[in-house]
């Protein structure tokens, strides 16, 4: 057991092993110190307890639906509350496709922005741009939704969907179909705008952690600035940037309000990006307060559980990646 900086100033006590090692302060100090360290631990343990509580509560509420449908719950595409059949596939599809679309748009922009801010922009330009992206991150989701409904959706319908559907859309299914405006495309674009600041902020930190010596070595070998960035800085930062992207993905998967307002909320599995879709978070927002019978409620709980599980996995992967990079940079 290595001594932490906090322990360095404390009195030597008996060697700490087992449970005692988990609570520094328990073996030395007086009664008030012991009480204090226990109270702090109680506060700290509230968080994992809360986490388990969420898992157990939602899991229990979802159980009737999972027991009734089994694997068909995630593989069936028939969602009909009136007929009592619940298949979540359209929502899973809508969530995955719109999030991936958001990533496809957001990742090049966010990484480009991060490179621009760390490698290129002079301070007088970098500061306001960085501040602007922070502001973007602070805008509430519902405001993005409002802007999406009244500005972005009509614009996309008239200037992107209609021309594309009339030309390339005839041969490529992805861009086919009538231009409704509300669509998976609109959802993807709004989410992309929302996650760019997030991905670029983490990417910037990762890029800034690349040692200056690496850059200087590349330049000294005769690399151009772009070659330095592309062949030296980016490969060094890649695991961290992947972590940032996965964090952004986690955010996109769970995004609710903005996407509910622009995706069209239709439980289909369309092949075209221009068609309306539905996401897991949106169906929860729309149907939860109207769920009348037990099975419908349980099915919605099942979707909540699924969403919870997916975002936990995605976030855990991202955290581990970012942590690893941070630890390497700290050495």
């Amino acid at each position: 057991m290595q001594a932490t900086p906090e322990e360095a100033g404390a009195l030597p006590g008996p060697p700490r092993r087992g449970v005692a090692a988990w609570f520094p302060g328990w073996w030395h100090g007086n009664l008030s110190d012991r009480t204090y360290s226990m109270a702090l631990a109680a506060f700290g343990l509230t968080i994992p307890v809360l986490f388990l509580l969420i898992l157990v509560r939602i899991g229990r509420a979802a159980w009737p639906a999972l027991a009734a449908f089994g694997g068909a719950f995630v593989s069936s595409s028939d969602w009909n509350p009136v007929a009592g059949s619940f298949g979540a596939l359209p929502f899973i599809y809508g969530t995955v496709v719109s999030s991936l679309l958001a990533l496809v748009i957001a990742v090049p922009l966010a990484v480009g922005l991060a490179i621009f801010l760390t490698e290129l922009a002079p301070r007088w330009l970098a500061t306001p741009i960085a501040f602007g992206t922070e502001l973007l991150a602070a805008i509430p989701s519902v405001v993005y939704g409002l802007w999406g409904i009244f500005v972005l959706v009509p614009w996309l319908r008239d200037h992107v969907q209609a021309p594309l559907a009339g030309s390339v859309g005839k041969s490529i299914g992805l861009f086919a179909g009538p231009a409704y405006g509300v669509s998976i495309l609109a959802g993807g674009v709004v989410m992309a705008i929302m996650i760019v600041p997030f991905i670029s902020a983490v990417s910037r930190e990762v890029l800034a952690a690349v040692p200056v010596a690496q850059r200087e070595a590349a330049l000294a070998l005769g690399a151009t600035r772009w070659e330095m960035t592309w062949q030296v800085v980016l490969p060094y930062a890649t695991p961290g940037i992947i972590g940032a992207v996965i964090l952004g993905l986690g955010r996109a998967l769970g995004e609710t309000m903005a996407i509910t307002m622009v995706i069209g909320n239709r439980p289909d599995i369309p092949t075209s990006l221009f068609a309306p879709g539905y996401t897991m978070a949106s169906v929860l927002a729309n149907e939860f307060s109207e769920a009348s019978d037990e099975l419908h409620l349980a099915a919605l709980m099942g979707i909540a559980l699924l969403l919870f599980g997916i975002t936990i996995i995605v976030n855990s992967i991202a955290r581990l990646l970012v942590w690893r990079v941070a630890r390497r940079a700290g050495k």
Partner: protein, 302 residues
């Protein structure tokens, strides 16, 4: 092209190639570098563009609807003009205060715990779970609080909304508190212990005051963020078109009201939604700016 014609100095010119002129390959490398770096600038411009557009549309569509009534009245029934969102403002204030009351003690306590027990495996688990909790979709938290608080109370309430927002607040504030406490120089703490202070008095009397401004910044930013949340309130605080002070009753919240107005078919309500959004953004930005510029931690590295 750079290759000079045969001249008396041909050999020396070839030796001095880098200075005299670049070969085709090097020029291409330079051009690639320029183009790609310019593209990163384009990416930056595209990213900032939506911000300008959103602000432009908010001001254009929302500014006209802001009046005294807007702040002091309750929503007007469909078809009647006028009305305001005073009750939503009150509700948001109640919900955010309640969540601060519930969440902040736990979050700050947990943050100190994490900072003081860096090496302990339990703290490692708590830290990881806190980070993962930060990524839980807010709608899932709303549903959890519905199963937990709303079902057992039997009806929607401000209290349930406050609990939902507190659950969002806790992981954010825990991590900033931990970071801020860690930034406090070790000598301060050692000084306290050397003077014979107990550990708890050292923390509460010396370390926390030193980290106060940083923690306060984190708290303000987190409060601004949850003030804009809609999804966790849909099934907890629910919304209410009338004035409501009691914490046991459903209350309105500004983001929920904006959502309801935005998806309604009425023109007047759309305008109120824009005005409400403008107000919400102004509140969020004012708090974030205050946090950023007014309060500076003396130990912050950046």
């Amino acid at each position: 092209m750079s290759g000079p014609a045969i001249t008396p100095h041909a050999e020396s010119a070839a030796a001095a190639l880098p200075r005299q002129g670049l070969g085709f390959r090097d020029r291409r490398r330079r051009a690639t570098s320029l183009v790609m770096l310019a593209l990163t600038g384009v990416a930056a411009a595209i990213t900032v563009l939506p911000l300008l557009l959103i602000f432009f549309h908010l001001l254009r569509a929302g500014l006209g609807a802001i009046s005294v009534d807007f702040f002091t009245q309750t929503p007007a029934p469909v078809g009647e003009s006028g009305g305001g969102i005073g009750n939503s403002l009150l509700g948001t204030f109640l919900l955010v205060s309640l969540s601060a009351l519930i969440g902040l003690p736990i979050a700050i306590g947990a943050g100190i715990y994490l900072a003081e027990n860096e090496a302990s495996p339990i703290a490692g688990v708590v830290r990881f779970v806190t980070d993962v909790m930060n990524g839980i979709p807010s709608i899932v938290i709303g549903i959890f609080v519905w199963t937990w608080v709303v079902v057992s109370m039997g009806h929607f309430s401000a209290f349930a909304g406050g609990v939902a927002l507190a659950i969002m607040l806790i992981p954010m504030v825990t991590r900033t508190t931990e970071e801020m406490v860690r930034l406090v120089p070790r000598e301060l703490k050692e000084g306290g212990l050397a003077l014979g202070f107990t550990r708890w008095r050292t923390t509460l009397g010396i370390v926390l005051p030193a980290a106060r401004s940083g923690i306060l910044t984190g708290v303000l930013v987190a409060l601004a963020r949850i003030a804009g949340e809609t999804a966790p309130l849909l099934f907890t605080a629910f919304g209410n078109p009338f004035w409501e002070w009691r914490l046991g009753e459903p209350v309105d919240a500004l983001p929920v009201r904006i959502f309801q107005y935005a998806i309604s078919p009425y023109e007047e309500w759309h305008q109120l939604a824009w005005a409400g959004s403008l107000l919400l953004i102004a509140l969020v930005l004012a708090v974030s700016l205050a946090a950023r510029f007014l309060i500076r931690s003396p130990y912050r590295s950046r």
